[in-house]
Each structure stands twice: as structure tokens, then as C-alpha cells.
């Protein structure tokens, strides 16, 4: 049995790093999020502030094509607020009876509107770089929300002798350290309705949490269900073991 335990341990050790083998990541700062851990949830106030940061800052370049305005109900916006947010943008619809495309105010069922008509337009406006879509960004980056936060606060002067490309910015946490995105956040860039001080760190935390919610909107429901199922299975396991003992009792 000891050999088995050793093997099980080895398996765990071998699989864990292997699964995330690619890319040597720089150690990210130990930021805590309300969504951390087995029972973490999305702090609604922070998530809503994060949406504000996304809407006022990030959305100028970054799309979130998989989200609809109606999804914002899940982070605690009221129906009126969602309708107002949606109506704030003009979306193209049509063709109408005359065969013409037309613009109308957005509805909750519309997907988040994209600032650029297409990828080429986005590149043209961004020094050739394509701002990635944010729908599942925390699932698509090693480190998730923690990485997003680190990236946003990770701008600094390049070390002496570091050759920078033209129009590039040095970022401590970006792979290769050269990022085409200018530092997007400045202190007090947004004005939070709840009067939270809008430091760069605070905005970065909020928007990272918002993006985490956007990538995994099922997270809270999933964890709640998981707790119930594991508890149920625990009880069932005890019963199954008891039954097995009873049945086997006459064999020994």
C-alpha cells in the first residue's frame, strides 16, 4: 500500500505542472479576489464598478462579443439600468421593409456593441495590434483575473538596455514585456457612484473581477451545486460502505 501512496503522490506532482506546461510565467502579485477559493462569489459592488471601468475605458478598443446587455442583470443591475445601458448605444439592424439597414437604440437582448467594424479597423486604429476580445479573457490567460490585474498595474520604465519596439510599452507581467497597449488606467479616470477612490489598483481589481464574472457567469451556481453534490455523495459513500461491510460480513 505504501508503494501505491507514493505512486499517487507522484501522479499528482507530475500532472499538476504538466497540465500548464507551456510558457514560463512571471510570478504574479498575490492579489485577493472575492471570487477566490472554493466558496468565493462575485462581490456585486466591485463587479459593477468593474463594468463601469470596462464600459468607460476598455470598451473603446476591446469587444465582449459573447455577452448581451441582459447578462448584466446577473451582477445586480436593475432592469431599468440594463435598458438604459443598452439604449446608450446605437446598433445596426435591418433590413427594413425598404431593404435598408438602419440604426436603433440597443435592447437588453443585443450583444455588447463592438467599437470597431472589424478586425482590420481595430488594427488600423491600434498601431497594428488587435485588441483581444474580453468575453472569456480570464479563462484564456494563465493566472486569470490575477493576471489581468497585474497587467494593468504592471506598466513601468524598461530596464536599462532593454530594446523597445516603436510604439510599444514596457509591462512587467506581459509575456515578452512589450505590449502595444498604452497604460489604459490613470488615477480617477472614472468616477465611481459609490465614491470608492478610483486608484489604478482599485480600477484594475474591479475590472479584473468583472471580466472573471464575464468569463464564468455560472461560477456561483456551479460552486453551490458542487457543495450540495459532494455532501450528498459523502453521505451516500458512508451508506454504500456500510452496506458493503454488512454484505461481506459473512465472508470473514
Amino acid at each position: 500500500m505504501r508503494m501505491l501512496k507514493t505512486l499517487a503522490l507522484l501522479a499528482a506532482v507530475a500532472v499538476a505542472p504538466a497540465a500548464h506546461a507551456a510558457g514560463e510565467a512571471i510570478a504574479l502579485p498575490e492579489t485577493r479576489f472575492s471570487s477566490d477559493g472554493m466558496f468565493g462569489t462575485f462581490d456585486r459592488a466591485s463587479t459593477q464598478r468593474g463594468f463601469q471601468v470596462y464600459r468607460e475605458v476598455c470598451a473603446n478598443c476591446h469587444s465582449m462579443r459573447l455577452l448581451s446587455y441582459r447578462n448584466l442583470l446577473e451582477i445586480g443591475l436593475t432592469d431599468e439600468q440594463v435598458r438604459a445601458v443598452a439604449a446608450d448605444v446605437q446598433v445596426q439592424d435591418g433590413p427594413n421593409d425598404e431593404g435598408q439597414m438602419f440604426e436603433r437604440p440597443g435592447r437588453p437582448s443585443d450583444r455588447f456593441r463592438r467599437s470597431f467594424a472589424n478586425d482590420a479597423a481595430a488594427r488600423a486604429a491600434n498601431n497594428g495590434a488587435l485588441p483581444p476580445d474580453f468575453s472569456v479573457i480570464t479563462k484564456a490567460r494563465e493566472g486569470g483575473a490575477r493576471y489581468i490585474h497585474a497587467l494593468l498595474v504592471g506598466y513601468e520604465d524598461p530596464p536599462a538596455g532593454f530594446a523597445m519596439g516603436e510604439g510599444m510599452y514596457y509591462n512587467r507581467y506581459f509575456p515578452g514585456h512589450q505590449i502595444a497597449m498604452a497604460p489604459p488606467l490613470n488615477p480617477d479616470q472614472v468616477e465611481y457612484a459609490d465614491r470608492t477612490a478610483a486608484s489604478v489598483d482599485q480600477m484594475a481589481r474591479d475590472v479584473a473581477l468583472f471580466l472573471h464574472w464575464a468569463a464564468e457567469p455560472e461560477l456561483e451556481q456551479r460552486r453551490q451545486m458542487g457543495v450540495k453534490i459532494v455532501l450528498f455523495l459523502g453521505v451516500l459513500g458512508v451508506l454504500a460502505y456500510g452496506v458493503k461491510r454488512r454484505i461481506w460480513a459473512d465472508l470473514h
Binding site: 508503494m3 505512486l7 507522484l10 501522479a11 506532482v13 507530475a14 500532472v15 505542472p17 504538466a18 497540465a19 500548464h20 506546461a21 507551456a22 510558457g23 472554493m38 459573447l66 447578462n71 483581444p132 468575453s135 472569456v136 479563462k139 484564456a140 490567460r141 494563465e142 509575456p175 468569463a215 457567469p217 455560472e218 456551479r222 460552486r223 451545486m225 458542487g226 457543495v227 453534490i229 459532494v230 455523495l233 459523502g234 451516500l236 459513500g237 454504500a240 460502505y241 452496506v243 458493503k244 454484505i247 461481506w248 459473512d250 465472508l251 470473514h252
Partner: protein, 424 residues
């Protein structure tokens, strides 16, 4: 075999009516009720049943996922995310299916490990073992094609790398690759045929599993001692003894499965697969899913492409001839002091291969992968054949009952000789 109605022993008139025309109840009773099974299984003997259950989970979740999936390069990624967001419990279906693949391989690797440790591949179970290797190969093909379907970056580039392996074969290689792709690169025709085959192969697996179990029920199960049951005192009926024991293992298995699905659903996946496939951008490191890493390491251990491909396929094909490479008449490694150590090293070596398979192809990983590849093959082709001649096995116990109970037989439990239960 005589023609005519089967003489059913069931008293329920409906069951009796059916059973005398189509004796499935008698068959179930014989194969899963009274089926004589060695009395000394340990919990490693759960894993065949666990694999069976996992196959059913995969087929069920897969059928429902496919109702909402669109096999087209433009829509595939978004349709998967639509399942995650807008389909009722779609996230649950998808995470169970995606993590189910990992669980399936964990279970099957342990199942194979158990077969190798306790010598379950030896006569008379060679064909049973070979059918198992066929299932393993089919699983690998199915899992590979399934991973392509979400059409993320790793889907696309994994498909590109793996299908390109066939180009290593001289003359016909490039034609095979074009034929596999259905075009001149991995594209929509590739995705379509992979989806079609990914839906088909699980049912082929189910068919081979049926043969695997049919063969098992001819030879009977091996056991941790590796000696044949010599009489009724050595066996117990499958039900209720092993149905109850399998239930315990199943619940524990489900707990592990649930923790993965509900609390760390993306732990075993690669973040790059949440980036939509882009033929113009190659990821810095292309790595397959974790369960392929040992074989990926063998592939990359050889500097020559064809050599690597041959060794990689060879590393699985060698399993087909394992029953004849290991000529030792002693099945269980409990009684093989030297082979036991060699096999422990083989197991360790497998994890080393898994580890280096996930690392970039640079030093020291290349050298480690070469040594590990050499040991992988040496175990099968050199160590086992040699040990069959040189090793002196420990004395085998006289019988299972004597080894388990410490006495020569003991009272036969009532249930072991009981008639088929009234309610089947």
C-alpha cells in the same frame, strides 16, 4: 444448442414469458448475478466498472452537447460558449464531458496498470488484454478529435501537429495528410469529419467493450494473487459482493469527479483553448492534453521525425504482444521480487515521460525524455523476457481461500451457493 423455448427459472410470469423467448434475464443472472468471482479482489478491481460508467456518462453528455454544437469553423467556438452561457445547465454538460475525458483516462490508466501489475494479460486472457488495447487506441483517437471540436487555439494547432505526424511516412505521407484533412490544411472539412468520427467512435468503443467483457466472462477474472480459483471456496457470486464493493468505489470516484467539475473545471485544460483558433498565430508551446503527454514525450525524444512517429505508435502497439514478451508463468508481481521493482520503475518512468512531455523541447528535458523512452521499451523488450528466464519467483499460495482466510476452505457462505434471487 437446441432449438426451442428456453427453460426459464424465473417465476414472475412476464419475466418468464420474455425470458423463455429471449433469455436476457437468465443471461444477466448468470453474468452479473451468480457469476463466480474470486473472493480476494482489492479496490483496483473497481476500475473496469468505473470505466464502463464513465463511457456511459461521456456518451450521454455528448449526445446532449451535440444538440447545441455547430461543427463549422466560424461557429464552433461560439456555439460552445453559447452552451456555457445560454443552454440550461449547458456548463454542467460541457464541464462533465471535458473533465470526463480526463477522468476516463485516469481510470483506464489505473485499469491498465492493475492488469500489468497482477499479470492479467497472461494466458488465458491474452485476447481480453488485446481487446483492451484496442479500446485504449480508440479512446485516444476519440479524445483527440473531441479536443478539436471547440476550435480553440490548442484544438487547431494540436490537430495540425498530430495529423502532420502522418507526413513522416515516406512517399504516401503527404497524401495521407491531405486525405485526413479533406483539403490542404486543417479547415472546415477537417472539423466536420472529426465531429462525425467523434460521434461514431464511442459506439465502436462500446462494441469492443462488449467483446472485452464477453471475453472476460469466458476466462473469468484474474485476482491479486494471480492464481486460478480451484473451487467454490475460492469464489463468490458477483452480486451482491462485488456490486456492493463497486458501489463504494463508484461513489468515491464520483466525489473526485465532482470536485474537478464543480470547483476546478479548467484545471486540466489549457488556457489557450479559450482563444478562438487562428491559423495565422502559432502558440508559443503546442502541448496536447495531459493524457497524451507520455506518448508525446516519446515522439519528441527522437531527433528523426519518422523515427519518433514509429516509436510513438510502437509504444502502444508493443502492448499487443506483451502477453508473449512476458513468458513468466507467475501472474501477480507480488510473487516476482525483481519484476516488481522493474515495474515500479516503469510506473515512475511513465510519470517522468508525462512530465517532460509537457515541457518545451530543450535541455535537460530532451535527455531525460530519451532515457525514459529507452527504459519504456527496455521494460517490455528486454527486462520482461529476461526475467521470465532468470527470476526466481516466491512460492505461490495453495489456494485463494487459504491465502485469504488462513485456512483451507472454511465454510462456504450461504450466498455463494444460493439459487438465483427471486426478483431479478
Amino acid at each position: 444448442m437446441s432449438i426451442g423455448l428456453h427453460k426459464s427459472e424465473f417465476s414472475n410470469p412476464v419475466i418468464r414469458w420474455v425470458d423463455s423467448r429471449l433469455p436476457i434475464f437468465t443471461m444477466m443472472q448468470k453474468e452479473y448475478g451468480t457469476f463466480p468471482t474470486p473472493r480476494n479482489f482489492n479496490y483496483f478491481w473497481n476500475f473496469g466498472a468505473l470505466a464502463m460508467v464513465t463511457l456511459m456518462i461521456m456518451i450521454l453528455t455528448g449526445v446532449f452537447l451535440s444538440m447545441n454544437y455547430t461543427a463549422h469553423t466560424v461557429y464552433a467556438f461560439d456555439s460552445v460558449e453559447r452552451i456555457m452561457r445560454d443552454v440550461n445547465y449547458g456548463w454542467l454538460l460541457r464541464y462533465v464531458h471535458a473533465n470526463g475525458a480526463s477522468m476516463f483516462f485516469i481510470v483506464v490508466y489505473i485499469h491498465i496498470w492493475r492488469g500489468m501489475y497482477y499479470g492479467s494479460y497472461k494466458a488465458p486472457r491474452e485476447l481480453l488484454w488485446m481487446l483492451g488495447v484496442v479500446i485504449f487506441l480508440l479512446m485516444m483517437a476519440t479524445a483527440f478529435m473531441g479536443y478539436v471540436l471547440p476550435w480553440g487555439q490548442m484544438s487547431f494547432w494540436g490537430a495540425t501537429v498530430i495529423t502532420n505526424l502522418f507526413s513522416a511516412f515516406p512517399i504516401v505521407g503527404s497524401h495521407i495528410v491531405t486525405w485526413l484533412w479533406g483539403g490542404f490544411s486543417v479547415d472546415n472539412p477537417t472539423l466536420n469529419r472529426f465531429f462525425s468520427l467523434h460521434y461514431l467512435l464511442p459506439f465502436v468503443i462500446a462494441g469492443v467493450v462488449f467483446l472485452h467483457i464477453a471475453a472476460l466472462h469466458i476466462t473469468g477474472s484474474n485476482n491479486p494473487l494471480g492464481i486460478d480459483p480451484k473451487g467454490p471456496q475460492d469464489t463468490i457470486p458477483f452480486h451482491p459482493y462485488y456490486t456492493s464493493k463497486d458501489s463504494v468505489g463508484l461513489v468515491v470516484y464520483f466525489i473526485v469527479f465532482a470536485i474537478l467539475v464543480f470547483f476546478m473545471p479548467n484545471y486540466l485544460g489549457h488556457p489557450d483553448n479559450y482563444i478562438p483558433a487562428n491559423p495565422m498565430v502559432t502558440p508559443p508551446h503546442i502541448v496536447p492534453e495531459w493524457y497524451f503527454l507520455p506518448f508525446y514525450a516519446i515522439l519528441r525524444a527522437v531527433p528523426d521525425k519518422l523515427g519518433g512517429v514509429v516509436l510513438m505508435f510502437g509504444s502502444i502497439l508493443v502492448l499487443f504482444v506483451l502477453p508473449w514478451l512476458d513468458g513468466s508463468p507467475v501472474r501477480s508481481m507480488r510473487f516476482r521480487p525483481v519484476a516488481r521493482i522493474a515495474f515500479a520503475l516503469f510506473t515512475l518512468n511513465f510519470f517522468v515521460l508525462l512530465y517532460v512531455g509537457g515541457k518545451p523541447a530543450e535541455e535537460p528535458y530532451v535527455t531525460i525524455s530519451r532515457i525514459a523512452t529507452a527504459y519504456y521499451f527496455a521494460y517490455f523488450l528486454v527486462i520482461l523476457p529476461l526475467l521470465a528466464r532468470l527470476e526466481r519467483p516466491l512460492p505461490l499460495p495453495e489456494s485463494i481461500a487459504r491465502a485469504v482466510l488462513g485456512r483451507g476452505g472454511g465454510p462456504i457462505p450461504m450466498a455463494a451457493t444460493a439459487k438465483p434471487m427471486e426478483k431479478a
